[in-house]
Symmetry: none
Subunit: 197 residues, 2 copies
DNA sequence: TTGAATGTTCTCTAGTTGTTCTCTATAATG
DNA sequence: CATTATAGAGAACAACTAGAGAACATTCAA
């Protein structure tokens, strides 16, 4: 379960290459991609990757097969999709990295119940990633504890030094002001995830 | 069975280093981080940490492995948050695993533009994870290509064998029927992610 | 079928990183 | 005062990583 630096870049190159072209690279293509002259070196990396279960090889042409590995934290960003327009292909196919969403040491997940953030696109059942924090900037969405027993997910503002304003994202609900000493911030919203089965 | 001061700071440094860069530090990096000149000293600390079960070492470079360290594909699910109610703590602290959202090799990300899925909680700017597929089940949300040049994200239904119905999630837009041969399915929505900075 | 392209297996080299020593210093303690 | 535990420097060596490239085997495509 330990990849060396070069083995990692090799694997990443294969993943990227496959994401872009839907086929496996040749040894020479990998070598070129890594700036290496010798395909023997590449072959050694591939052997190690195979031994560790990241790839399989059928000794054919473009025979490298990626094994599904739960450690990928990136996906290729293929483009934008707009209502009624074709997919704009993105030239330099970016990779979206989700690691930093998960990476923080003091983050946790809450499942949302109710519809107080519906206009923000946060629906009942969604997962929100919260970064533990005691402070927040105005306009951030926070987990706020009111009078030490009522926790809510709301957008926060500070109208003045002694007042905290918590704003739901739902037309049917009203913002409320609280004196600052009644509200404790428990965390700040850093992400929202929904999984469709 | 106690850690000395320096052993603790060493361990802390490794944890922090891993959290930031997702790889284990070199002895020299640890030495530098602790303000030590000699990697021999670091090695002694590591031996002690290993003996006491805090780390494992595979005598390679970057071979330090933290024992009992949270996987970075997972975050703890602390509970539910409802509008106006306290956080319901979940007893057996579940870990939410995002790996299977990212795991597939034939998945990619699109950034949404426009508001055709707004009632589904998918907003302009959101990232959607798409699994490449040519088929879909009724009621799934798919990337559909119409007449080979217009791609959209819509909920799909099959009213009858020859007809495909694409349904936007926006009250201001109307569902449309197409003859089946005009519509190509490019992928199925498997996830939606939004990151707040 | 045959030549070119590609994959496999080697040996060699260099540089980096990990391991094992010995030596010194300081503080706490009986 | 001697002893012990902690902390550090640094040298010598071993193990590992990285790369080059040659020779050979296999696969592909004309």
């Amino acid at each position: 379960m330990m990849l060396t630096e070069r083995e990692q870049t090799t694997l990443q190159f294969i993943v990227d290459f496959y994401a872009k072209s839907r086929k496996s690279p040749l040894l020479t293509e990998i070598a070129e991609g890594l700036g290496i002259q010798s395909k023997g070196v590449v072959h050694r990396y591939l052997s190690s990757l195979e031994e560790q279960g990241y790839i399989r090889r059928h000794q054919k042409h473009r025979g490298i097969e990626l094994v599904d590995h739960p450690n990928y934290d990136e996906l290729p960003l293929l483009g934008c999709i707009a209502a009624g327009k074709p997919i704009e292909a993105i030239e330099n196919r970016e990779l979206i990295n989700f690691a930093h969403l998960l990476g923080g040491t003091n983050r946790y997940v809450l499942q949302v119940k109710g519809h107080s953030m519906i206009d923000e696109g946060i629906r009942s059942g969604d997962l929100v990633v919260i970064e533990q924090a005691k402070m927040a900037r105005s306009n951030q969405i926070v987990v706020a504890l009111i009078d030490n027993h009522e926790a809510t997910l709301k957008r926060i503002k500070f109208p003045n030094r002694d007042t905290v304003r918590l704003i739901p994202a739902n037309k049917n609900m009203q913002p409320k002001n609280y004196s600052a000493d009644r509200v404790t911030i428990q965390g700040v919203l850093v992400g929202q995830v929904r999984m469709y089965t």
